[in-house]
């Protein structure tokens, strides 16, 4: 460490030690459990410090243990363990000893949404800095107490050690009744990366043991005394109006109230099954005024072109031109969305698996008329979401029911068909490409047009984005906007192509849409990387070499070279094929190259994925197994989207109501997976949770072509290849 930095740092830290204040008491002590904090609902709210302050992110508890407070959510992506690792590393304390509190408007920073693979890039880096600042303060405080220079003192495993006598003092003894406070210094010196013990290692996730033991972990598992169970009757189709409902429902066993507000209808009962029985009665006996709002669509490529207008591209001089399309696809969380809400004396508390507690709070404020300070949203783990699923909507539903029945905890879980029919889907898209090749096989022109609806209708303060708000007596207006937005993600090819032209066309599609894992990147990369492989064939080049020849970014080349090395000796028999896909996510984040090997049996109409490989460079990898897990899962999920998935609807309703109507990959078609990480500890972390989606889609489609000679440009593959 350069001495000048160190000297300055010590001065800064010493100055900061004034910032230690007699805080009075420690943060409320719970039985300290590593991993996600104990029932988060039991922690009382606090005055949340500004994000520049150490204790905004990190507290020392009464027993000397360390609590990290993140404004992000655990979605299954491994956020909790990564936060433990970065904090533990700076404090020389094993990660499993660090307790993590997830996003909570009563406790944590407003970090917006947990989305876009940004949690490592931003939140984890703040936690890293807060932990380093806390360590500096502990050292500085011990130096004062022992009248030693700071280089004679170390922090190790939750203790402060004086090196001259090898004496130890616990954080608790050192701090007495004080809490760490103060600004995180700008010029903070972080632990040198070459000294890392835990960051960059495959540290197990702390919640995994609770998961395999079946312990309470999810919002679905929260139970409160005298909790009331609720269900909501969703309209049959968008825009339907409730005209009557069977009043005898109110006399059904256990039913405590039926709540109607316009076309929003919910039932509250003492027991969950009583609520489900009452919902059945409501469903059978209610009457709705419905139109037939949904169009007949034969081909999304045709529909989107007609709705958004043609590209006007003249492809006469192009070497190759092609049109690709994807249908609406679902998040399809295995656990339907769930929330618990309690309203009493003007205060509303909601427990939710939303990806954004603060944006949800402002939207609930708009919905209910309650001031934001009278609403608390506590983030609790839920079933994997992969974007904006029904989490926010169910929280709004629970809030409406709780306010109609104050004083009790109201638990609402959507039924399977609610989630399937009412979640906001990933938009259908159309992609049109045209390019020319030079005589030596270089791309000399590139035109790309895409058609899409928007890719985020997340609640950002407008109640209208919460679907039930549009059905209330005094309905909130929903403004879907008129921009493709995230649909343009990765529409620009990450290759050396002179004068590439890209244009988007907005289409207001028929179905509800919002953010689905990787937004438009999935379809754009599917199209670009399918087209690249088609061009490589026209150029007579190996598909990976063709990509490498168009890449001047050495990190692109490195992942492509490694993928070539992993797959070049892989044998393929008759009916089998290997295809590839590559992208740099958002063109600024992780580099990921994917290969898929699969078997196509045209007579049996069956595609069997055999193996998928990925090579990923996510900059500094915090948790190597976490990144592998995300990348393996991303490939399998994208293979499922690509081969099988399509939201189906008729004029009156979405008919993909369950897993029979919306099949996803089952175990008979799960590929073996192999992920290779190119770790670059010296570089910033880039976030890898969405990097595999697009490359995997193209790899699958390209492998289908390699296996059977059929080029599928409209998804899902299985609906179009046979």
């Amino acid at each position: 460490m350069p001495s000048i930095n160190r000297r300055h740092f010590i001065q800064t830290a010493a100055g900061l030690s004034i910032g230690f204040t007699l805080f009075g008491c420690f943060p409320q002590q719970e039985k300290t459990v590593a991993g996600t904090a104990p029932t988060p609902s039991t922690l009382p709210p606090r005055n949340i410090p500004d994000g520049s302050q150490i204790d905004a992110w990190l507290q020392i508890l009464e027993d000397g243990s360390i609590r990290v407070l993140t404004g992000k959510m655990e979605l299954g992506q491994g956020l909790t363990v990564a936060m433990q690792q970065v904090a533990g590393e700076e404090l020389n304390t094993p990660p499993e000893k660090i307790q993590i509190v997830l996003a909570d408007t009563g406790l944590t920073q407003n970090e917006g949404y947990t989305a876009g693979s940004r949690a490592m890039e931003r939140s984890a880096m703040q936690v890293r800095r807060a932990a380093a600042a806390a360590k500096a303060m502990l050292v500085s405080l011990a130096a004062e107490q022992w009248e030693l220079s700071t280089d004679q003192i170390q922090v190790q495993d939750g203790q402060v050690i004086r090196l001259d006598k090898n004496e130890k003092i616990s954080f608790r003894e050192l701090l007495a009744d004080r809490q760490i406070e103060g600004t995180i210094p700008e010029d903070l010196v972080l632990k040198p990366k070459e000294d890392y013990e835990w960051v960059g290692q495959p540290i197990p996730h702390p919640d995994m043991e609770k998961i395999v033991r079946g312990e309470a972990l999810y919002v679905q598992d929260l139970r409160f005394p005298e909790m009331i169970h609720a269900r909501v009757l969703k309209p049959k189709v968008y825009g339907a109006k409730l005209t009557s409902w069977p009043e005898e429902t109110q006399q059904m066993p256990g039913v405590v109230k039926v709540v109607q507000n316009g076309s929003f209808l919910g039932v509250l009962a003492e027991e969950e099954f009583q609520a489900i029985q009452a919902l059945k009665t409501l469903g059978e006996g209610s009457e709705w005024e419905t139109s037939r709002p949904l169009p007949k669509v034969e081909s999304w490529a045709d529909y989107m072109e007609e709705a958004g207008g043609p590209s006007g591209l003249n492809t006469n001089k192009a070497t190759h031109a092609a049109v690709y399309a994807k249908p609406y696809t679902m998040h399809g969380s295995i656990g339907p969305s769930c929330a618990i809400a309690r309203y009493e004396e003007g205060q509303l508390h909601i427990w939710s698996h939303t990806q954004g507690v603060y944006p949800l709070r402002s939207s609930i404020s708009d919905l209910t008329g309650l001031a934001e300070e009278n609403i608390r949203i506590s983030g609790v783990r839920g079933s994997g979401c992969y974007g904006h699923n029904g989490a926010d909507d169910v929280a709004a539903d629970a809030a409406l029911l709780a306010m109609a029945y104050p004083g009790q905890h109201i638990r609402l879980q959507w039924q399977r068909e609610n989630e399937h029919q009412w979640e906001p889907y990933g938009s259908a898209m159309r992609m049109e490409l045209s390019a020319s090749l030079t005589g030596d096989g270089k791309i000399s022109s590139w035109d790309y047009h895409l058609w899409s609806d928007g890719h985020s209708t997340r609640p950002r303060g407008n109640a209208g984005n919460l679907v039930s708000a549009r059905y209330l007596e005094e309905a909130f207006e929903f403004n879907p906007g008129s921009r493709v937005g995230g649909g343009t993600r990765n529409s620009e090819p990450y290759y050396d192509i002179p004068g590439a032209r890209i244009q988007d066309h907005y289409v207001k599609g028929p179905l509800r849409v919002s953010a689905l894992r990787s937004l438009g990147a999935y379809a754009n990369i599917f199209a670009i990387e399918s087209f690249i492989e088609e061009l490589s064939e026209k150029a007579g080049k190996d598909p990976l070499d063709f990509r490498i020849e168009h890449s001047s970014d050495e990190r692109s080349v490195a992942v492509l070279q490694k993928l070539k090395e992993l797959t070049q000796n892989e044998p393929s028999t008759e009916g089998e094929g290997i295809g590839f896909g590559f992208s740099r996510y958002k063109n600024t984040a992780s580099y990921c190259a994917v290969a898929a090997k699969l078997r196509v049996d045209l007579s049996a109409k069956k595609i069997t994925p055999i193996k998928m490989w990925a090579v990923i460079d996510a900059g500094e990898t915090i948790n190597t197994d976490g990144l592998k897990n995300q990348t393996e899962g991303g490939m399998i999920q994208a293979a499922s989207w690509t081969l099988k998935e399509e939201v189906k609807f008729e004029a009156e309703q979405v008919i993909s109501k369950d897993w029979a109507g919306y099949p996803i990959l089952r175990h008979d078609a799960i590929p073996e997976t192999e992920v290779h990480i190119i770790n670059r500890p010296e570089l910033p972390p880039l976030g890898g949770g969405e990097a595999a989606q697009g490359p995997a889609a193209a790899a699958v489609a390209n492998a289908v072509y390699a296996a059977c000679g059929k080029r599928v440009r409209e998804l899902p593959v299985e609906a179009h290849v046979f």
Binding site: V212, G214, Q220, N629
Partner: protein, 158 residues
């Protein structure tokens, strides 16, 4: 409307319970809400996804569609009941932990229950037999390749 309830004697994880429930009530709600058991999860209510699975007399059962009354006199084992008396993990739980074979973990209950049932019947299943044994269980995070690795690991150890 009348509230007619049935009473069923349920043996869950070795413990006998007398439960009053609606005659049509699926086992899932009784386990979760009356006995406070968290392993089995509501996923679809249709027997399509496997998140609700428990063992009934050693066989995998979809508790979201099995009426509670039909489990009378049978041995029900849930995920929490798999561990040994000293709290140590069942080999399948241990293998899932070692392979970190979950992301969100909502489906893990069913994955482990199916795997235990399979391995009890067939201690060294082939790749195809493992896939067949897990065919009911859906995972949206895409952790199935890890799940298969975990089951193979136990198969090898037995």
């Amino acid at each position: 409307m009348q509230s007619t309830k049935s009473t069923t004697q349920l043996t869950v994880n070795g413990k006998k319970n007398s439960i009053d429930h609606h005659p049509e009530e699926p086992l899932l709600y009784v386990l979760r809400n009356q006995l406070g058991i968290n392993g089995p999860k509501y996923g679809c209510g249709l027997g399509q996804c496997g998140a609700c699975m428990v063992l009934v007399d050693g066989q995998p059962a979809l508790s979201c569609i099995v009426p509670a009354g039909s489990a009378s006199g049978k041995e029900i084992t849930t995920l929490a009941g798999l561990q040994n008396k000293d709290g140590s993990l069942h080999p399948v739980q241990q293998a899932f932990l070692e392979e970190q074979a979950a992301q969100c973990g909502y489906c893990t209950n069913g994955m482990i229950i199916s795997s235990v049932a399979l391995l009890n019947q067939n201690p060294q299943p082939s790749d195809a037999e493992i896939r067949q044994g897990l065919q009911t269980n859906l995972c949206r995070c895409g952790t199935q390749s890890r799940v298969i690795r975990a089951v193979k690991k136990v198969g090898k150890e037995i």
